[in-house]
């Protein structure tokens, strides 16, 4: 799992039937100090996150298992909204 910041929504009317009804968000992966890592990606959302939220997401096969229909082509799924991050001083 990795942390990411939600940059915005992705609206997509026509999509593969297995991800119909799933919200898509544009997210920027970040580290624990909220510094950007790499390029933004599009992720499926399961927790109704919104722009500005810090979230954590899962990639790979586990991303597909996060949605109700397991047989779907998601490669990044948001699993939760982060309230706070406590790092050692």
């Amino acid at each position: 799992m990795k942390l990411a910041k939600v940059l915005g929504n992705v609206v997509c009317t026509r999509k593969v039937s297995s991800i119909e009804g799933i919200k898509l968000l544009l997210i920027q992966p970040v580290d624990e100090n909220l510094r950007n890592i790499g390029d933004p990606i599009v992720a499926c959302d399961t927790v109704q996150a919104g722009p500005g939220d810090i979230v954590f997401f899962e990639g790979g096969r586990e991303a597909a298992l996060g949605l109700d229909n397991w047989f779907n082509p998601s490669d990044a799924t948001i699993m939760g909204i982060v309230d706070s991050i406590q790092t050692e001083v």
Binding site: L3, G66, G80
Partner: protein, 91 residues
């Protein structure tokens, strides 16, 4: 399994239902000499580890799902042990 150092906690109230019983940790992978290597990631905690602990982490889906006893849980990284010490051969 890899060795990782716990560098922080993540508090999250709103999360996927399969994650609801677990604590989340920020893990920095380390070598046997405790030197950091690679990027940090988030892992689910099953052993009540805390910051500064060195833990044993599985970063592979099938084994992780076995640990939580759920064939379809959407999680991959899971901490499965707290390391007391690492004894290396002096040779």
């Amino acid at each position: 399994m890899i060795l990782g150092k716990v560098v922080g906690n993540i508090v999250s109230t709103l999360k996927h239902i399969k994650y609801s019983d677990y604590k989340l940790l920020i893990i920095q992978p380390v070598g046997p000499d405790n030197k950091p290597k690679g990027k940090t990631f988030i892992a689910v905690d099953t052993v009540q580890a805390g910051p500064e602990d060195v833990v044993l982490v599985i970063d592979e889906g099938n084994s992780a799902r076995l640990i939580v006893d759920d064939k379809m849980a959407p999680l991959r990284s899971i901490s499965v042990g707290i390391v007391d010490e690492i004894i290396k051969d002096k040779r």
